[in-house]
């Protein structure tokens, strides 16, 4: 089971299906938040067409490891409140990432970090609040994530 509706969730479910695994996706709200929703819907339909069922509006409540190593997953349906238990070999969570900015000692030198996302706050020149220290890429606030912007053309 793959939990989440992000591109990572879709890509992971896709390649696992591609190598022959039975895969189900559990999606709490919508696929591909921030992307064009008309396209997201078509991607969802295509996942189901190739045999990856998507449990929309579902949330994982509990995961128990059974004696044979399987994982008993309790999933609730947020629409009608029903609960089901299904056994899976593996459960993958793809529900977002947090930059690992808190172990770098940035606060010791006074670099400002956004308190909700833990991302580093930069200006348009990619400078932090300490001008000779820069932050680039996914760790910087309001920058494209997992997207190569470094290609020089």
């Amino acid at each position: 089971m793959v939990v989440g509706g992000s591109y990572i969730a879709l890509e992971t479910a896709g390649f696992l299906k591609g190598v022959g695994c039975d895969v189900t996706m559990s999606v709490r709200s919508i696929l591909l938040r921030g992307f064009d929703q008309g396209i997201a819907e078509k991607i969802g339909k295509n996942m189901e067409r190739i045999g990856v069922p998507i449990l929309y509006k579902h949330a994982v409540q509990k995961i128990e490891k059974l004696e044979d190593g399987q994982l008993k997953v309790t999933i609730s349906n947020d629409v009608d409140g029903s609960v089901q238990e299904v056994n899976y070999d593996n459960v993958f969570y793809a529900i977002g990432r947090t930059p690992n900015t808190r172990r770098l000692g940035l606060e010791d030198i006074g670099i400002k970090i956004d308190p909700t996302t833990y991302k580093i706050i930069t200006n348009e020149q990619d400078q932090t609040n300490i001008p000779h220290i820069y932050a680039l890429g996914d760790c910087a606030l309001d920058r494209p994530e997992l997207t190569p912007t470094a290609v020089m053309v």
């Binding site: 008309g38 396209i39 494209p144």
Partner: protein, 101 residues
Amino acid sequence: MAQRLFGGSKELMDYDMVPTTVFSPLEYGCIGFSQEKAYSTFGKENVTIYHAYFRPFEWVLNENQPKDACYIKMVCKKDEDERVIGLHYLGPHAGDIIQVR
């Protein structure tokens, strides 16, 4: 940034219109505004959407492939002579198609 710090450039990185691709089984490449974002930014009446289903040539001889899976959508701004402000491509090789140049 390297050019700015060491090459004497003053040019800032332009983070607008960065193309990206979702490598789902049917790939999705996009750049610019989504339909929703264009509507909320400019108003529905100022946006034109052009869209089409298509069959990639490499699927033509394969009857198992659906006829309505691949899709392209173009988001245009009406008052700027229909300037394209968003492009969305759902189909094979999206990563190669929606790239910078």
